[in-house]
């Protein structure tokens, strides 16, 4: 066998195909990595493996049925997706939502944000090679999902929010169970924090890796925790409050350097803020109706609307065109994961191949939302 020893490493282009079945791509995501030694010199992301045509499917379903499709966009933060769609339709119909329904929505959405960030925490640990955190994170997430099951009847695909309110009244033991759950989860979060955040090996893998500056992040359209990790305190819950988010007192965690560790820690801090919101919502919630006076088949007036909400992954927008019938004329989703993914090429160029998964994991993409 003859080996050409005179290969100039500058000219060698080795292409590595990562995915779509790679376990750390969080779904079916394919990356073509052009590498030079240990360095990544070019990246070609391929998306579309989970494309189900959700936006087109919406045009053939009535408004109440579309909620089931929105459940399946970001499938780890289902209720946040439902909220985005319901609020869009409601503001098009100019409905007033009963206070109790809004509070229940906020409580459930924030719980779902916690569950989503816990999933990120667990899988990110796996991505950088820590096996233990996922077990702790899933222990807490499991409790939240069991709690959802007792309210909505499903662990993930809830179909609980309705246009004008929510599906049914909360179970009797809701308050007791929720305060117990919050205690357990906040304890669990501290445990998770102790377990991983200051671990030297974890710090070595994530600190100063995959840095994106604030201006670049804005240029790429990055939103949510990824943007806040770069030092921009932009959160739609605060800057343009929807539902009843202006009634609570909470902070927006912001980091400064925009590396992987900041993106990780901003999310962990957001869990604590979510718990704060839920506690306030619990004390403010009063009895009352849970569904506004709407006809069973919603028919929004002719018109169009773009409604933004803050999903766990960022700026989730729903563009809706109604022609006055019982089915939407057009639904377009501005998926935060999709926009965040655009920064991947920039982040990976010049990085080490060992950091590819670290960086990809820190963006926290959900393919169901990217491909729709």
């Amino acid at each position: 066998m003859e080996i050409n020893k005179t290969i100039n490493s500058d000219n060698v282009d080795l292409m590595i195909n990562m995915g779509p079945q790679h376990p750390s791509t969080h779904g079916v995501f394919r990356l073509l990595l052009n590498i030079d030694g240990e360095r990544i010199i070019d990246v070609k992301p391929h998306i579309g493996y989970l494309h189900r045509g959700s936006e087109k499917l919406c045009e053939n379903e009535r408004y109440a049925q579309v909620v089931t499709l929105f459940d399946r966009l970001d499938y780890v933060a289902n209720l946040n997706m439902e909220l985005g769609f319901c609020l869009a339709v409601e503001s098009l119909m100019e409905l007033d939502i009963p206070d109790r329904a809004s509070y229940i929505r906020v409580i459930l959405c924030e719980l779902n944000r916690i569950a989503s960030h816990l999933l990120f925490y667990g899988t990110y640990g796996l991505d950088v090679g820590a096996m233990t955190p996922v077990l702790y994170a899933f222990r807490e997430r499991e409790k939240i999902q069991g709690f959802f099951e007792s309210i909505t009847g499903a662990r993930m695909m809830h179909n609980y929010f309705r246009i004008g309110g929510i599906k049914e009244e909360l179970p009797d033991d809701f308050n007791n169970r929720l305060s117990l759950l919050l205690d357990e989860v906040s304890q669990g979060i501290e445990e998770c924090d102790m377990l991983l955040s200051k671990n030297e090996m974890f710090l070595a893998r994530t600190k100063n890796v995959g840095i994106i500056s604030a201006s670049d992040a804005v240029d790429f359209g990055v939103s949510g925790p990824n943007l806040r990790a770069s030092g921009i305190a932009r959160d739609i819950r605060v800057s343009k409050p929807y539902s009843i988010y202006d009634r609570f007192d909470y902070g927006i965690p912001v980091a400064s350097s925009g590396d992987c560790w900041d993106r990780y820690y901003v999310r962990l801090e957001e869990i604590r803020q979510s718990i704060k919101i839920i506690k306030q919502a619990m004390s403010q919630m009063e009895d009352g109706p849970i569904l506004a006076k709407v006809r069973r088949i919603a028919r929004p007036p002719k018109g169009e609307i773009y409604f933004r909400t803050e999903s766990p992954r960022g700026d989730f927008g729903v563009y809706l065109v109604s022609d006055g019938s019982d089915k939407p004329y057009r639904v377009k989703v501005r998926a935060p994961s999709f926009a965040n993914l655009q920064s991947l090429q920039y982040l990976l160029k010049g990085a080490y191949i060992a950091d590819a998964v670290t960086i990809l994991g820190s963006i926290d993409i959900i393919m169901g939302e990217v491909d729709r």
Binding site: I151, G153, A154
Partner: protein, 170 residues
């Protein structure tokens, strides 16, 4: 070094805790479903007149987002005998459980308390079309659900099949 040690401390603490894992196939050790759990849809049975609640009005079939159901109604023989209040009764009903997304819309739109999300959630079957459940299988699911959860209709007066005696004709 401190980071390692705090992490190790958390891991060590787990040794003194009760395990939280459940074991799936073992009926004793698996996680119990909640009362509101939405499993596969099932048809309920009216014990007062010994017939299903379902009249085959097709509203669930029309509202289903995935169009996984078909239904057909017939004239109720018990009605002509004067034993039941239902003029029409379900003749054939099929739900493709493989296609059902367990959204619960059919339960919500049903005016007759006839369809209910059971606690059944295991999908695998031994035959190819085992998930296409017909009327008898759906009723079996429903009867099991009714006896397990002590199910009662939400609108008993309106939906009971017991014939109303006309008193004002005297």
């Amino acid at each position: 070094m401190i980071g390692f040690l705090t992490g190790l401390f958390v891991t060590m603490k787990t040794g003194f805790r009760r395990p939280v894992t459940a074991q799936y196939p073992d009926p004793e050790k698996r996680i119990k479903v909640e009362n509101r759990f939405m499993g596969f849809p099932s048809l309920t049975w009216d014990y007062d007149v010994e017939e299903p609640y379902c009249t085959g009005c097709m509203v669930c079939v029309r509202e289903c987002p995935t169009e996984c159901m078909t239904a057909k109604m017939k004239d109720n023989p018990l009605f002509s005998e004067g034993k039941s209040r239902r003029k029409k009764i379900i003749d054939e009903f099929e739900i493709n459980l493989g296609r059902c997304i367990l959204c619960g819309i059919c339960v919500e739109v049903c005016n007759f308390d006839a369809i209910e999300m059971s606690h059944e959630h295991e999908l695998s079957k031994r035959v190819r079309n085992g998930n296409r459940f017909g009327l008898q299988q759906l009723l079996k699911l429903g009867i099991k659900f009714q006896s397990n959860t002590n199910w009662q209709p939400k609108q008993p007066e309106k939906n009971s099949g017991v014939p109303v005696k006309k008193v004002d004709e005297e």
